[in-house]
Symmetry: C2
Subunit: 657 residues, 2 copies
């Protein structure tokens, strides 16, 4: 008699197994990804499968219910207590008796995929550093003395193929009572990141209460965290809070200055940010309704200054050339080393930094957007106070940082403000009437909509609003290619306000867009474009296939307006997308997939870094990019822009001298 | 022209080198053990050598002063500032120009030997886990961004062949200022124990202030520490203090009981012993006159209960069969993990435990005495409350623990006391007059010496005293082979005092040796002998070649008296030696020689453990060993003992019923 033939779907893995082999054993033998925490003891139910019966011409197989052994007492008990959906079997109980087709549903796969929202983003394959394993440990024997830990280690080797797990001191402290309370059966959390596997926790008996990890993006302004279930990848809580370091300085350089000028400055900022991380962890655990001590890992990203301050390293060297990082490599630490209270034995992973201006947050963006896996030539721009820019494809990836300054965030803008209720965030200007309409954060209706509440507080313009209004002004012929705002006479619009030798556009009430505002945005966008262009030079290309805008701010930029301003090179607008908080996503990927840590480490090592500050062509590109959209580069994907010129020898002449 | 031929003494390593090769470079090329911290930059002077000039027929070589380049400016400056002894050269400066014979004095050898006091003990070869290295680090370069740590790591790889040293977080925190203060030259302390090398400290420029390590033996009664210079091996301070856990229980079992009966008992004892370790570290540093933060390592040994309590592990399992250790393996920890304040980044090494009754202290004894390296069959007895016993040679090593109880330490003895001033520690009884003379701790003269101060306080008998007096009583015919003390009538000595049905010997004033005392010692010595005998059975031998008495108490036992009592098997008395505090010595070896850690780990893994409690023959041996010296075993190395018998149907008859 021939052994039964079994096909696992969706993987298609197949082979013959001896009759009576359990589905779990067959899956293991054939390399099928079928989960199990209890190791086949009918406890965890992670190995649920759905056998398929009938004729399957595609597989050349007809299967019947006789393919598997009937449901047994373990399955009945499980069904009674926890419920087993119709058609489902426990893989560790059902035995294969004849040819079978067995589907492994996604939730039964160890390496299940966490689907990301964006169509173009890759899925995250679950492969966390910390996992649970249920083991049965041999009892001590006076004839053959050995430590309880050594017998647990042996059990992990024999029952789970983990040959080298070591216990931490805290594991040792909890080990003996747990083994005895669980009658020599325990569940352990094993952390492996790199060559070393460590046992982080021991629960008596079978534990199924979940283990969690935090992905944290420490920004200069906000700190954001995602609390993830380390088994399913599910985001259980997303929290954000202000970086309390703001009281020491609004932007990065003012914080570095604070560290330079105050003897204890760096230490104060370290203390503040670590407190905030603890608050974040507490909020995340509360929001998810879990014990904080069940957080076994955190992955942390941040720009170099934040990275150093979280680590307790004085960032003073990052404030001056040559911008030397204390360390560029990824770091493995105990949470305790940075005073972060999670599980007492929790581990931290800091992504590597790329250069003195291109930090672990940028590395996380690179991991999230993965230009190194793209067939297309891909430009990734993380827009913030500094813009981090990547250009690359499977062949190679280049990176640089460009000093855009804070104009894109509404700073240095006459009516600029943070993105908060009351801020104008979207603008349209009628090209005929030159009248604007806009949308305000906190209100859904446009300003010209009858539903727009007349009492809406309108307090200023945020970053995305300033980009849109200037781009719209350019599209409406109110600003010329050189960035000059036209007068009421030249434009025929009564909204133009004379201010000395220059003009402004009255968007709403006192909220004007001044010549100075346009100049500030021109400087910022020139820096951004020049950085991208420098990478294109190095890459030897004049065009890019795709553009990804990353960063919390990037999520709100309208691609069309960004391109009208010449912030980014010309590209099919349908291929300009926003990646949202890609740094946070990269941190989450590194949390859920340990191989991604090696991937980002390799990527950072292979990325060619271009230092804009010492690259002579940067200045050249910067000057050429001052025009809107650009003095020389073609933007075939944009509609023709009005050919106006408001150079009357005023502000314009002074600039050209 | 043939290249010069160079011979290094005392190693005899030799070979040809290109003319102009420095002595240091030649030594490295030929594998000669020549020290250098500064890497050949003329700073550290560790590479001092003594060239020999003249005719050396033994080597077939005649050398002249022209063999080496003349003393150069670096050596002149060094001589001026620090002094260079006549005939000495700096190996990194002197160039070999012609055939040369060059002596490497012991202090210039990296792997110099620390000579141990005892003739039969092996020397310790210096090979500490923590070493200093002077490196020159490349400055940061914006064109090729990399972290300061990565450039330091590269410098260590290139200049010292340490390819994989990683920095701890604390290293990162101190790294950048040190590199800049030292103008990119720094001295680093690198710790390697096993596969991982970690940078523990960074000093600006060249640092020569010494680094230190502590070898600690945590005994139930006393805690002893040796502070060692990690470059020379020199013991800079030896300190001891009482184990403050004594307030929770005198002996191990009463402390385990305390942990069992009090909810927070184990934690209290952990706190107490950790405080004592901190006191010890402080005292050692003060005695040596060094900064405590220069202690970069500690090696800790102790019996299983002490081992667990230091680690914060509840020892309750060690108080009941099957005496399961939480862990038997060696441990690598940060000093901080057990709240021990040394250098903030200091590392700990705990020796492995052998079994639930045979701890890391016993492993240290095994390392110190190294039966596995002995051609002779060697019995090692660590005498304390529990005796740990090893028997073995190059072929194999057996170990057991035997429950001797505290009688050997003066407990359970009517006039017993700890070894302290006032205690009788040595006794002789005239075989003719049966009159005793004795020596008291704190007084040099014997009691019958005219110099013996008449006002000497004589307060009791300590462990070594009780062994001597009972052995002397046996030699003088006052105690028979069964352990019975004779009456005044039977012995003819007026010192015999009747006590009910038994008799006692008046040693001095109220200080008597009672029948109960003899019985207590008989029980203890029977356990000790039975353990040794059990190992001899397993080994298949009736004799041993050598006996080593270890333990602080072992240092004071007179081998002859121990053998008269039958504490140890018969052996040539000249081959019964004391190893002093061998556990402390073993800890010191593991501190100074990292290879010894692997050696003791391998040894502990290969030792065959014999559990006396479940070995049926133990009881049999125990009964047979009750006689003095023994009921059946021959003691040919002892003189014939008086054949007396005091069995008059009294105490003796009751025992035999």
């Amino acid at each position: 008699m021939t052994d039964p033939f079994v096909i696992f779907t969706p993987s298609g893995q197949r082979g013959r197994v001896a009759p009576g082999t359990t589905v779990l054993a067959a899956a293991r033998a054939l390399g099928v990804d079928l989960d199990s925490v209890c190791g086949g003891r009918g406890i965890c139910s992670r190995c649920q499968v759905a056998p398929a019966f009938g004729a399957f011409p595609k597989h050349g197989l007809t299967t019947t219910e006789a393919a598997l052994s009937p449901r047994n007492a373990v399955e009945d008990r499980y069904d009674r207590i926890r419920g087993l959906a119709p058609g489902r079997r426990l893989g560790c109980q059902a035995e294969i008796l004849a040819d079978a087709i067995i589907d492994v549903p996604p939730e039964s796969q160890v390496h299940r995929q966490v689907v990301r929202k964006r169509a173009e983003a890759r899925a995250i394959t679950m492969d966390p550093a910390t996992r649970l394993h249920y083991v049965e440990v041999r009892e001590p024997d006076m004839q053959e003395p050995s430590g309880d830990l050594q017998r647990l280690e042996r059990a992990l080797a024999e029952q789970w193929g983990i040959p080298d797990a070591k216990g931490d001191l805290r594991t040792l402290q909890m080990l003996q009572p747990a083994l005895r309370k669980g009658d020599w059966k325990v569940t352990v959390a094993v952390h492996r990141d790199g060559p070393e596997a460590r046992i982080l926790h021991v629960w008596p008996g079978y534990y199924d209460g979940g283990i969690y990890g935090l992905a944290i993006d420490v920004g200069s302004t906000t700190i954001a965290g995602h609390l993830c279930d380390l088994a399913t990848g599910e985001v259980r809580a997303s929290v954000g809070l202000m970086n309390p370091q703001i009281r020491f300085g609004e932007d990065l350089m003012s914080r570095v200055s604070y560290a330079m000028l105050n003897p204890n400055g760096a230490a104060e900022m370290t203390k503040a940010v670590r407190e905030a991380l603890n608050t974040l962890a507490g909020q995340a655990a509360a929001e998810a309704g879990i014990e904080r001590a069940l957080i076994f890992e955190a992955v942390i990203v941040g720009n170099p200054v934040m990275h150093h301050l979280v680590l307790g390293i004085d960032p003073v060297e990052l404030g001056q050339a040559p911008f030397a990082l204390a360390t560029a490599d990824a770091l493995h630490l105990w949470a305790e080393e940075i005073d972060l209270t999670l599980h007492p034995d929790a581990r931290l992973y800091f992504l590597p930094c790329i250069a003195g201006h291109v930090g672990a947050d940028a590395a996380a963006v690179a991991l999230s957007e993965s230009p190194q896996l793209s067939d297309d030539l891909m430009l990734v721009v993380d827009v913030g106070t500094n813009a981090e820019i990547f250009l690359g494809n499977r062949a190679r990836v280049l990176a640089c940082s460009s000093p855009t300054g804070p104009a894109f965030e509404g700073a240095q803008i006459s009516s600029g403000q943070r993105a908060a209720p009351g801020a104008i965030e979207r603008v349209e200007i009628d090209p005929v009437t030159r009248e604007p309409r806009f949308r305000v954060i906190g209100t859904d209706a446009w300003s010209d909509d009858p539903d727009f509440p007349p009492d809406t507080a309108i307090t200023g313009i945020c970053g995305s609003g300033i980009i849109e209004v200037i781009a719209e002004m350019r599209l409406a012929g109110l600003v010329d290619a050189s960035g000059l705002i036209g007068s009421a006479e030249a434009t025929g619009s009564p909204r133009m306000v004379a201010q000395g030798r220059t003009h402004a556009y009255r968007l709403h009430g006192d909220i004007l867009v001044t010549q100075g505002d346009v100049r500030a945005i021109q400087l910022a966008k020139s820096a951004l474009y020049a950085g991208a262009r420098l990478l294109m030079d190095q890459f030897g290309t004049d065009t890019v296939d795709r553009v990804v805008l990353a960063g919390a701010f990037g999520a709100h930029i309208s691609p069309r307006h960004a391109m009208v301003l010449g912030m980014i090179p010309d590209c099919d607008l349908a291929r300009v997308t926003s990646a949202g908080n890609a740094a946070g996503t990269g941190a989450r990927i590194a949390l859920l997939n340990v191989a991604a840590r090696r991937e980002v480490e390799a990527l950072v090592g292979s990325i060619h870094k271009v230092e804009t500050a010492i690259e002579p062509r940067f200045q050249e590109h910067f000057v050429a990019a001052n025009a809107i959209p650009h003095a020389t580069a073609a933007f075939p994907h944009l509609p023709p822009l009005p050919e106006v010129s408001f150079n009357t020898g005023g502000e314009g002449r002074r600039r050209r001298r």
